[in-house]
């Protein structure tokens, strides 16, 4: 997902008897569906895990601008260009909502940025894949944003108030993203033979990386168990992946495109599609920083930060100068 493999305390979920009174009261509030707010007492593990998760989610939104930014200057029409610009601007906004939510936990945005730029913090594996053709803009909106929505809709009910509120805003805006992607895919799939092939090729390349977004099966993960008990993770990775496949398979059929999985088949007994797992070795390799575009993405983010330094410093100096003048005048 936009936040993958989020490590928790690394321990089994405590039973109520093992918790101290403060922890127990906290867990009871979470169980009752109450929102935890910034100044409330919270276990240190909850706070740290949330910073990791929200931070990684924010970084994903920011880095996620790059694969699409790649096509802004080459969009096929002025309208498509304006739409893509609006979408990329939304991603920046989503990143900012999320950094704000993380900041309420006592970490600064610059601190999180530093950890991204040094490679200490991660962003979603999906953004390390290249966007080679215009059809990829369709595939990203349809599949990548589609997968993100699967995860983000339940997160609107997450236990941490500022995170839940950020998710509500994001989900409202995200549905435009998925629909504009599908709109591009419809145009391409119903276009010339060359366009149809381009659309099929985009689906071929983005299908398995999209399935990887949910992360490997975590049924037996202590991290996931704790994060689900704290309601900062709402569903298992397999549940969400299945939901995504079930939703997407008929859409691909509608487009007349073929999902690149010979084992994809409706299973009447289960009431779900059967499908092939992605290559998890590739996933771990990409997470380690060996994706096709990993180095490019980090380079672009570092360059943006370094080249923006004079703007950040200049505006701050100007603000201080103005403030000093105002004080002198009073």
């Amino acid at each position: 997902m936009y936040a993958q493999m989020i490590k928790s305390t690394g321990q089994n979920v405590k039973s109520p008897e093992e918790m101290d009174p403060q922890e127990r009261a906290f867990q009871e509030r979470v169980d009752a569906g109450e929102k935890i707010e910034p100044k409330d007492w919270m276990p240190e593990g909850y706070r740290r895990t949330l910073i990791r998760q929200i931070g990684q989610h924010a970084h994903s939104e920011i880095v996620g601008q790059l694969p699409e930014g790649n096509w802004i200057t080459r969009a096929p029409t002025l309208e498509r260009k304006a739409i893509l610009l609006a979408k990329v601007q939304d991603e920046a906004g989503h990143g900012l909502y999320l950094y704000c939510a993380a900041e309420t936990l006592g970490v600064s945005r610059d601190h999180l940025t530093r950890d991204l730029l040094s490679g200490k913090m991660k962003y979603s594996s999906i953004f390390n894949y290249p966007t080679l053709t215009w059809a990829d803009m369709g595939a990203v909106g349809w599949l990548v944003d589609g997968a993100a929505i699967m995860n983000q809709v339940p997160l609107q009910r997450t236990s941490y108030g500022p995170y839940a509120r950020a998710m509500v805003r994001i989900c409202k805006e995200e549905s435009f993203h998925q629909r504009q992607g599908f709109d591009i895919m419809m145009k391409m799939a119903n276009g010339t033979e060359a366009q149809r092939k381009m659309a099929q090729d985009a689906l071929n390349r983005f299908w398995y990386p999209s399935l990887m977004m949910f992360g490997p099966s975590d049924e037996n993960s202590v991290h996931s168990a704790q994060n689900m008990a704290w309601k900062i993770k709402m569903n298992t990775n397999d549940e969400l992946r299945q939901k995504f496949v079930d939703q997407t398979a008929p859409q691909a059929a509608f487009l007349g495109l073929t999902i690149p999985d010979e084992h994809l088949k409706w299973n009447e007994a289960r009431g779900h599609y059967d499908f092939s797992e992605p290559d998890w070795d590739e996933f771990f390799d990409v997470l380690k920083g060996n994706g096709p575009c990993s180095a490019d993405r980090m380079e672009a983010r570092n360059r943006a930060w370094d080249e923006g330094a004079w703007v950040r410093e200049g505006l701050l100096a100007h603000a201080e100068k103005k403030k000093a003048r105002k004080v002198a005048a009073e």
């Binding site: 707010e37 100044k39 409330d40 007492w41 609006a86 601007q89 939304d90 906004g93 900012l96 909502y97 704000c100 900041e103 600064s108 945005r109 610059d110 601190h111 940025t113 530093r114 509120r165 950020a166 805003r169 805006e173 950040r312 410093e313 505006l315 701050l316 100007h318 603000a319 103005k322 403030k323």
Partner: protein, 94 residues
């Protein structure tokens, strides 16, 4: 990185005559820049007709630990609610 722009809390009034409502926060060098950024970050879809920004450090807030003592005095004044009073139906709509 030591020179981080200050944090501003953003309040927006929607179109339907309601009060300004807290929508989130952002970083900006000064108030004017904060309002401009707030427009880009929080009103991309006509969410508001008025923006307030307040430096986060200027906000004083009640502490969650005081939740009990702070609000408790209103608990025993049930007569502040209209439902406290029994008015016979015969009295007509009220």
């Amino acid at each position: 990185m030591q020179n981080e722009w200050p944090l501003w809390e953003v309040f927006i009034r929607g179109q339907h005559g309601l009060s300004h409502r807290h929508v989130g926060s952002l970083h900006a060098a000064d108030a004017e820049a904060a309002i401009r950024n707030a427009r880009d970050v929080y009103t991309r879809r006509n969410e508001g007709v008025s923006i307030w920004v307040v430096e986060a450090s200027a906000i004083a807030a009640s502490s969650p630990d005081e939740k009990g003592p702070l609000y408790e005095p209103s608990n025993d004044k049930v007569y502040r609610h209209p439902t406290f009073y029994d008015i016979p139906d015969d009295a007509g709509a009220m």
